[in-house]
Structure formats: C-alpha cells, structure tokens
Symmetry: C2
Subunit: 240 residues, 2 copies
C-alpha cells in the first residue's frame, strides 16, 4: 500500500500548468504538425513567456516526448476500449475491433499518428525513447495486440509458417523480444504478431499519410478485405 501524500497547493498548480502546456502543444500539433509546436506560441497561448516553460520541460524535444507518451496511452486506451466493448466475443472478433479502432483513431488524429508512428522528428529523440524500452508507452501499445493474439493461440491455435523455418531464420533476432514480452509463447506466434502489426501499420500509415489518395477514394474496403485475409490465414489448425 502506497502512502497517500495529499498534493500541496503548489503541486496542484504545477500539475495544472503542466497539462495546460501539453494541451496547447497538442492543439498546435493538430493544426500544423509536430514542427508547428513552438514554445513561444504555447507561452503566448497561456499568457506567459517562453522561458517559463523551461521550469516544466528541459527543452522542446522533451515536451514533444512527453506529449508522445500521452498520445501512446490515449491510442492504447482507445484500442483497449474497443476490445472490451466486444469482451464476450472471440479473440478473433476482438482483434477485428481493435484493428478498426486503431485505424479510426489514426484517421481521426493524423497529426498525432504522424508523431507516434511516422518519420522520426529531427531532434525528436524523446519520441524514440518513449517507444524503446519494454516498459514504455510504445511497447505497452503493441502488447495489447500481442495479448489478444496470444489468447487466440492458447484457446484455439492457428496455423503458422513452419516452426523450423522461423526458428532458423528469425529466431536469433527475435529471441530477446520474446523473452521480454512473451516468454510463454512460441516464436511462430511472435512472428504472426509482427506480420499482422506490419500489415496493419502499412495500411493505416499509407492512408493517413495520403499515399493511397492517388489510387483509392475510400480506403475502407481495402482495409476490411486485407484484415479479413489476414485473419483467414489464422485458421484453426483443424481447418487446414
């Protein structure tokens, strides 16, 4: 049991200012992309001067990193909520809901998606860091998908590429991640997770970044069809 320290007045004010800064930063992210976030504009927005923000963040990069961490959590919560909304469904149905929720959030928040999943912002080492460690927001995000896939694996199982193929080629490079995130799972499941995440990422990133505009007026059918195809590959072993 953690001792509850009643927040002092100063601490409350500090927390409020901190989130006010991040709110303003997000507003600028939305309207002009990551590079439109400026300390001076935030300060102006808040009726302050720019150097004051250095009492709250080491520099602009750190602020953007903190914002990225928040956004990772927001996206994850969105995906988790979608999964829980069909909690009584199969793992397969929940994965569909999660994928759709991820796409919906990304399309609704293109600037945020760009910050989290796009081009690393120059000097934006903080965003990278927010995604690197196993305990960090980015990894926790992937874990939601992996957990559901693992459940499907344990309950029903599904066909995967031959184990020896994956062991031999991917094994050495994948082993550290497996140990950290799914020590109980065989490498094939980790592989299917990566393949699925890559497919989902590719579809959503292409759409959000506008790289499909020249080909498709509405990406929904392509997304749904590809999602279906991927999950059909995850047929229970009996059906194979």
């Amino acid at each position: 049991m953690t001792t509850v320290i009643p927040p002092t007045r100063r601490e409350r004010l500090r927390a409020a200012t901190l989130s006010e800064i991040k709110d303003a930063a997000r507003r600028m992210l939305v309207t002009g992309g990551a590079t439109a976030i400026s300390l001076r504009a935030i300060a102006r927005d808040m009726g302050m001067t720019a150097p004051a923000i250095y009492r709250y963040f080491d520099n602009l990069d750190a602020l953007v990193g903190a914002l990225a961490t928040d956004l990772f959590d927001e996206a994850r919560q969105e995906v988790e909520a979608a999964s829980e909304a069909v909690a009584d469904g199969s793992a397969r149905e929940r994965m569909i809901a999660m994928a759709r929720a991820f796409r919906a959030w990304s399309v609704a928040h293109p600037a945020e998606f760009g910050l989290l999943f796009g081009n690393p912002v120059p000097g934006g080492q903080s965003v990278q860091r927010a995604c690197a460690g196993a305990t960090d927001a980015g990894a926790r995000f992937g874990a939601v998908f992996l957990a559901t896939l693992a459940e499907e694996w344990e309950r029903e199982g599904f066909v995967t590429p031959p184990a020896e193929l994956i062991e031999g080629r991917l094994g050495p490079h994948l082993e550290p991640y497996r140990e950290a995130h799914g020590p109980d799972l065989p490498l094939e499941v980790i592989y299917v997770f990566l393949a699925g995440w890559t497919l989902l990422y590719g579809l959503v990133a292409m759409e959000v970044f506008g790289h499909l505009q020249w080909a498709l007026s509405d990406v929904t059918p392509l997304f749904e069809l590809e999602l279906e195809r991927f999950l059909n590959l995850l047929a229970p072993p009996a059906a194979a």
Copy 2:
C-alpha cells in the same frame, strides 16, 4: 522530332546553380532530416546569400518539392535497374529483385525515404503534389511495380480473391485509378498490386522509421519471409 535549342551560356549557368542548390539541400536532408533544409545554410554552403535562391525557387517548400521529385526518380531508377539486372528471369523473380532494391535504397537513404513516403512535411504541399497526378513522379514510381505484376498476370495468371468480392466493394473506388493506369487489367490485379505495395511499404517504413527496433535486431529475415509469403499467394491458378 524536337528542335534542339543550343543552351545559352546563361541557361547553362542557371542549370548548374539549380542542381548545386538541390545537391546542398540533399546533403542537409541526409544529415538532419527534411526540416534541416534551410535556405540560409544552403546559400552559406554555396557562398551566396539566402535571397538569391528565390531566383530559382518560389520558396523553401518549392525547393523541397523539386528535391522530392528528383528522389522519386532516383528510387524508381534504382528499382528499374534491379529489375533489368534479372531481365531474363520470370516476372516473379523480377518482383523479388525490385522489392529488395526498394528496401535497400530506403534503408540506405532513410532521410530521403522519410521525405517521400513518410509524414507529410508541414507546409510540404509540394511533396504531395509531386505524388498526386498520374503523370507525376510518385505515380510513375508505383507504375513500375504494377507493370511487372501485370506481365505476370498476362503470362501466367495467379489466384486472386474472388472477382465479385472486389467488384462489389472496391470497384467504385478503384475504377478511376484502373482507367488511368491499367485500363486493360481486371480489378483483381489492381487489388493485388495495392495489397502488395501496402505490404512492402509497411515493412520498409517500419524498418526505416525504427519502429521495429524494439522487436528485431535484423529485419532481413522478416522481410524475406513476408515477401515469400506474398508471392506464394500469387500461385498460378493451376496450383490452387
């Protein structure tokens, strides 16, 4: 036959300066990302002053757009060269070579990849424009892949999702693109092209942007395995 106009001295100088500007811009793109491209730094590099560049480009955004067009062409030529290097192989073999070449170029030139295929740069409307029109560099880039896939289709054929599935759902949104780029091809082939391009893009973008670092120390096996899986799906209809 086009009349050959001998370039005047002024025209030669202008062309030289123009490419010198773009060379400097690319150097900065490589070292610090798209936002590191600055008119003042370029001018300093060339022993000029910044306003002089406005004689060659309307503004910074236009410069970046022109650079993007060049890079699209460079990447396309790289992919085409890889295809021609195995010109006597099957279309399938050529597609493997092209995909590998695309990955190799992207990994070797992450900043350039980021500019072309990543987050739209804020204010970087020019990059978008360079990719939009059917005759533009970005579309020509995709056309290389589509052409090879079409050849495989006409020569051998391959299984696709059922035509009526694609017609009904994707048809209306895909028809404009088909008319512009492959009026002789059925919608299923266009669909397979998009699916393959999405897979390739997802794999390469994840790797280049560092979004696979937390999972994989070397992406090559995953890339090769996924490439294989995709092409195995393109089995000739007899084998199905």
